[in-house]
Every structure is written in structure tokens, then in C-alpha cells.
Amino acid sequence: MPALSNDQADFARAIVLGLDLSPQAHAVCPKYRVATAMAVYHNNYRGNLHDTLASAYPVTEQLVGKDFFRVLTKQFIEQYPSRSGNLHHYGAEMADFIADFEPAQSLVYLSDVAALEWACHRAYFAEDEATLDVSGLSKVPAENYADLVIHTHPACHMVRSIYPIAAIWNAHQPGANSDFHIDLDSGSSNALVSRKENTVMVTELTEAGATWLQSIRSGAPLGEATSGVLERYPDFNLNTALLNLLEQGVLADFTLENMP
């Protein structure tokens, strides 16, 4: 039955691209003109994707305002059709899109904020995994501590920017003081995304803390990661770093290097 599948492909293309159905299509619409009915489909398709993007990028939307965000998403949706049946996957390319989006060029930090928001979005939907079992850790002999390979939770992400994106993100959360002023020159940001009890948080790591966590995330054992950081940052406080990361649910399972 090629006729049916041709019609369906034509129908889908017309919805996504906002085109007219080809004259050969077998379309029947009793109450409206076919073009009118197709416009309704097209608007609903784009409306859903706009809402999906607004839900994934609420800080970006607040930063630029609703009207601008609608223009931005309209062009994004034209450029990136939905490719998954799961709307949670939609919008991954936003940071790159914004970086090239001419009308947003003045907001130099916006692309990095969007990257942080996508990390938060992924963190929200990341799988559950048990956080570090401290009682299991107590069974490890102290002489093996340096060989500990600590894994991070699937909801943990790090986003680095030369702009203060963690402060910008936190200023736009529900309940935050709306009377804020952020100086873009206040420095770079090592934003850490984590999730605790279904709430996604963004905190800031020090340069040393970020270097250490990056090293741990790449699979370096505790001893190696710590020595490496202490060489560059003699003030690095492992004690505080570990306690903070444990508290934020960033640390998950551990293994011992060279042991099964």
C-alpha cells in the first residue's frame, strides 16, 4: 500500500515544515479547508515544542523575555525537528544554536547558561543510583584509601564558563530575590549540577575542587587525583570537598583500583 504511506509521509512533512499537502494526497476534512486543518496541526506541533523548550530552558526564557524566546524557539524548531518520541530529549542543541543566533549575540553568556540548563534538565531525568555507602567505605583498609576509585552519580554534571553562570542560574530560581544585579566581570564559574530528593541544584566549585572532581570523574584513583590537585593548588581541602560532595549526592559507588 504505497499510497497510504506516501500520504502519511506527506502529512508528517506538512505538519513539521508547515507546508501544504501535495495535491495528490487523499485528505478529507469535512468542516474546514484542508489548509486550515493543516495549520492547526502545524501550530500544535510547534506549540508543544515551544512549551517543551520553555520547560527545559526557564532561565533562558526569563533572561530574554517571552517574546524574544518565542522568536528564538520558532527558529530553533524550524532548524531542529523533533526526532524522538520522548519530548525530554528535545532541545539538546540549544546552547550551540544560541551561540550562532544573531539577535542574541549581545548576551555573551546566554549560550553557557543554556548549556547549564540542559545539564540540569538531564540531571532531573537521570537514572536513580544509590549514593556513596559510607558503611561500605569503612570496610576498606586505610592503606588502600589512595586506590579508591569513586564514581559520580548519573545526575552529576559540570559546566564551566568564563561567565558567572551559576550565580545567574540561582538568581532565576523560584523564591530567589528578584532584585539582583550580577556583574559579568565577576569571574568564571565552575558550575556543579547535582540532584537530591528530586531537586536539581547548581552550586559552584573552586578551581581546585573542579580540577579534583574532573580527575575523579575521568577515573583517577583518590590518591592520584588528590596529589595532582595539591601540586597545583596547595590550599585544596580534600576534607571539605569530600563532605560537600557527599552532602550533595554527587558521590556514588566506589571500587578499588586493581581489584575486581
Binding site: L63, D183, L184, L222
Partner: protein
């Protein structure tokens, strides 16, 4: 080696914390594990939440996009120094 002492002390303090708040942490973990997989953000992945387009045939015959010339950011970006457009 000094680093070894630092590591031993840091893990030691994690273990102390585990002893002190052992029960509370077990509860946290339980709560995490009971979370339903696939829980959705409010209004997410739900066609009926579509506020951007009319969902009833006949309500909307044309798109409701803003004009493309409304392309100047007008949001909280004004509160971020150096982040806004110079006024034209």
C-alpha cells in the same frame, strides 16, 4: 607521605559522619530509591499543557507567532551588567 595523611584524615571524617548520621542517610537513600522512574516535571511531555497553540480545531486558523522584528531581548538580562544591548 603527607598526601597519604591528608587522604586518611579526609576519609576518616567521612566515616565519622557516617556514624553520626547513619540513620538519616539510610532514610535519604530509601527515599531516592522509591522515586518512580520517569517522573515528569510539571506540565512536561503532556500535550494538554500546550498553551502556545490552540488545541481545538477551529480556534486557530493562523499561527500566533510574534513578528520576527521583535528580536531584542527584554527580560532579566537587564539586571546583568554588560549583558544587555545598548539602547538604540
Amino acid at each position: 607521605m603527607d598526601n597519604r595523611r591528608i587522604i586518611t584524615a579526609a576519609i576518616g571524617s567521612l566515616l565519622m559522619l557516617g556514624l553520626v548520621s547513619g540513620n538519616a542517610m539510610a532514610d535519604d537513600k530509601k527515599m531516592d530509591m522509591e522515586k518512580c522512574f520517569g517522573v515528569a516535571k510539571a506540565g512536561k511531555n503532556d500535550c494538554s499543557s500546550n498553551k502556545s497553540a490552540h488545541s481545538c480545531a477551529g480556534q486557530s486558523t493562523k499561527n500566533n507567532d510574534p513578528m520576527d522584528f521583535v528580536a531584542v531581548p527584554k527580560g532579566t538580562c537587564e539586571k546583568i551588567a554588560g549583558g544587555t544591548l545598548k539602547s538604540m
